[in-house]
Symmetry: C2
Subunit: 483 residues, 2 copies
């Protein structure tokens, strides 16, 4: 392994994080809730450690696949742990495990909280929680590629390690350009969302924070009752629409900007996404209409919740713990599928399901035509057998980690639905699940050990397993690999 | 499709079933509970329909893969539906859906019951229920191959369609010989079990029926309280050991008979099976020891239940609905894994998990050695990429059918744990799940629609999906395919 390059990259990530922390630092100063020293210390520590590491001078600056995956795995761990420093210094949390959990939940855009009363937090800390969603949403390595001067072609491996979907790749020939375009689209959509929320009556502070959480499909809110607490139908509609929009593959927006409308609307994953969202909203609305006195009120809650869950945001305007089993089953399924690859959302991603359904059909077809070498294609492009295999193994790994994690946290004694959905909500970076971790609950009652397990799930899920699993391979630690 | 060959094969299966029904017919005569006319009519109908179909004269008697899969799919549907006739004529069941559910549950060796009081059944009917487990355990097409005079080499496709595991095949060059050896081992083990149960004090009738259910890893018992009702520790131990033994790949017994002990004990799947069973027994025993006043009593219940669940039998000596969440999670995981390929048990099969874990490791290794073409091997044999892909798609199909089925039956309004485990218990051919379908519950409260869904899951799970799914392919119904 090229350890120097790996450490240098982590150093750069920490320097960027120190810069990002300046914003909540200013916010804490403005509101004067007394939390600015927490940021001061955190910025200092991150900047110093980051600068020391960034000064390393590796012989090769070439990111091989293995270096890129290790960088991704460690970067996300470190940005979360250093990102937890403001929580530690603020004194608002009960334990170090809680601080780490909350920060990991933030950067991975999960939005699970161990806090029982967020409204009491100093406003700088509350800002940093939501802002971490925004940083994590598009990816911190992506940001590094967009802003660092020395980005070479091999950095595409960093993009592949951090981005989501079966085969992430550049949208324009240059990697730096790709990263910049992605971040510009992301920023522009966030700004529009802030303005809209402000227009329908949310305070600027709340508009900003909820926009960060929506853009990163995170789910931390400013109120204990989440978005439901505002009781503002217009804000609910705007956020529901934007959660959906942030669940779409960002390279499709690039296609849209290029006025290739046909290619945009013909995208198979987008069509499936729309189809699932519409069907889920309708079925749930019918299923819950008895609870809310009429289909229109039911549609209001079902559309918000479906958009929130499938985009893996996790905001709530209703307690779906009280909904009928069918609606709960649909929501759990949406937690697993998640939204589109290349979005800021989590989950297994719809394109993987499309790919596997097609592959299963091809496999069945082989019974009729044993010699056939028919292959899977999506949007007219042939998908290699390698990617099909990798995708189906991804599916297996998701469930393998799911089962092991459920068993590990079940020792705490929560019921089986709570344990199972807590793990799904962590792996898919959603936040709320069912039972004790439902929309009105939180993760405070879990043991420190369970919090570590769930934190692992959040990072593993965000990075889609491989960059985290390589860290457990002996090859990643063999000295013989140093080059 | 070679429709004539397909119909002829189904006819032969029905003729064999009519022969099998003679046994409960005799039993019903001996006990004089008045149920013998039910068998008389059923035998007549099955024999007549079977003979008419079996008289068809197809041009080719060559089973291509597609013919074999369609034969397997239909044979299991027909043997179940005709096997439900005695239930229909007996008048002991509330509806036709109930009769079909019980028969499908019998032949697929699931053991889910819609009956609330089995002890009231006439003894011929009760016998037929358990005997259907024995017929289904080793497979009805396998029996046909063992006894029918005209079995050609292409029949190996029937064996592949009906047997379990990623790549079932002959153990000796001749297919007829293979089928005979399998059935002889099966019969011998069943006879030993009957004798042992009789020796420890069970009545002959009960010994026979419980031996049938154990051998087929079915789970229908003669008492409402399942095996727990006998309160006979020796019988519990014997059945626990035999459930485990019937969960082992039968071709390993052939290896054992050939005195190749090293190859037997070095079999990877067997080792994993033993390892999982021992670990599960110990962890659960510790977890539940507080409930049963001591580790020894806890070991008694945990060992029986682990053996019963992993072998997918479904007998119970304790109500594991009341066990702590960790124990329940372990049992649910064992429901999914099931036991060894080529056994009479159900589930995904351990060898598939071994294969996928190895494939995932190879995939991770590719990050370090991008050009590598390392492949997966089990017991020193290389596994082709095709089989790896098929196995991972199998895993995907299992969960796809699982989720759709859970949603369909959730309309009944049962809680999510009940719905989820009812589907797993059906797909893996176990019987009891958690919640309302726990060891003390049953499937009576489900709607007729849900019973159909679960029946589909039982057959699809028993045949490992492909032979059932091909029936839904348009190619299976195209006239152009007739040859």
């Amino acid at each position: 392994m090229n350890y120097k390059l790996i450490l240098k990259s982590i150093g750069n990530v920490l320097r960027i994080e120190a810069l990002f922390m300046l914003i909540p630092f200013v916010v804490s100063f403005i509101y004067g809730d007394g939390d600015y020293p927490a940021f001061l210390w955190s910025i200092l520590i991150s900047a110093v450690v980051g600068t020391v590491l960034a000064r390393l001078n590796p012989k090769s600056k070439n990111f091989r696949t293995r270096d890129a995956f290790v960088v991704a795995g460690f970067s996300w761990l470190f940005i979360s742990l250093f990102g937890a420093l403001p929580f530690v210094f603020s004194g608002c949390f009960d334990s170090l495990a809680d601080c780490a959990f909350e920060a990991i939940s933030g950067f991975t855009t999960t939005g699970s909280s161990i806090l029982t009363n967020v409204e009491d937090l100093p406003r700088g800390i509350l800002f940093w929680r939501s802002f971490s969603h925004w940083i994590g949403g598009m990816g911190v390595l992506m940001f590094m590629m967009a802003v660092m001067p020395s980005v070479n072609a091999s950095s595409v491996n960093l993009l592949r390690a951090e981005s989501t979907g079966p085969a992430p790749d550049k949208i324009v020939p240059k990697i730096k350009e790709t990263a910049r375009i992605m971040y510009l689209i992301y920023l522009a959509m966030t700004v529009i969302l802030v303005i809209l929320l402000k227009l329908v009556g949310l305070p600027l502070y709340d508009s900003l924070l909820n926009a960060f959480s929506t853009a990163g499909t995170g789910g931390f809110s400013t109120l204990n009752a989440s978005i439901g607490g505002y009781n503002n139908v217009a804000a609910e509609i705007i956020i529901a629409v934007f959660m959906f929009l942030f669940g779409i593959n960002f390279s499709l927006y690039f296609i849209l900007i290029g006025r290739k409308f046909l290619r945009f609307f013909k995208d198979l994953e987008l069509r499936v996404f729309v189809g699932i969202v519409v069907s889920a909203i309708l079925i749930i609305a019918i299923d819950i209409s008895g609870l809310y006195g009429g289909i229109f009120e039911a549609l209001r809650y079902s559309s918000f919740q479906v958009s929130s869950i499938i985009s893996t945001t996790g905001f709530a305007t209703a307690d779906f713990n009280l909904w009928p089993t069918l609606s709960q089953c649909i929501l759990v399924l949406l937690m697993l599928t998640g939204c589109c690859a290349g979005s800021t959302g989590g989950g297994i991603k719809l394109v993987r399901f499309i790919l596997l359904v097609k592959a299963a059909k091809v496999e069945l077809g082989k019974i009729f035509h044993p010699g056939s070498v028919k292959s899977v294609s999506i949007n007219g492009k042939r998908v290699t057998q390698d990617i099909v295999l990798k995708t189906s193994l991804f599916f297996f790994i998701y469930f393998a980690i799911f089962f092991v994690s459920v068993m590990l946290i079940s020792v705490d004694g929560n019921d089986i639905a709570t344990c199972a959905t807590a793990v799904i909500a962590s792996l898919s970076n959603i936040g709320p699940g069912l039972g004790a971790v439902g929309p009105t609950g939180n993760y405070a009652s879990f043991s420190a050990f369970s919090k570590v397990v769930l934190s692992f799930c959040m990072i593993a899920g965000r990075l889609e397993f491989f960059p985290v699993l390589v860290l457990f391979m002996p090859s990643a630690w063999k000295r013989g690999f140093i080059k």
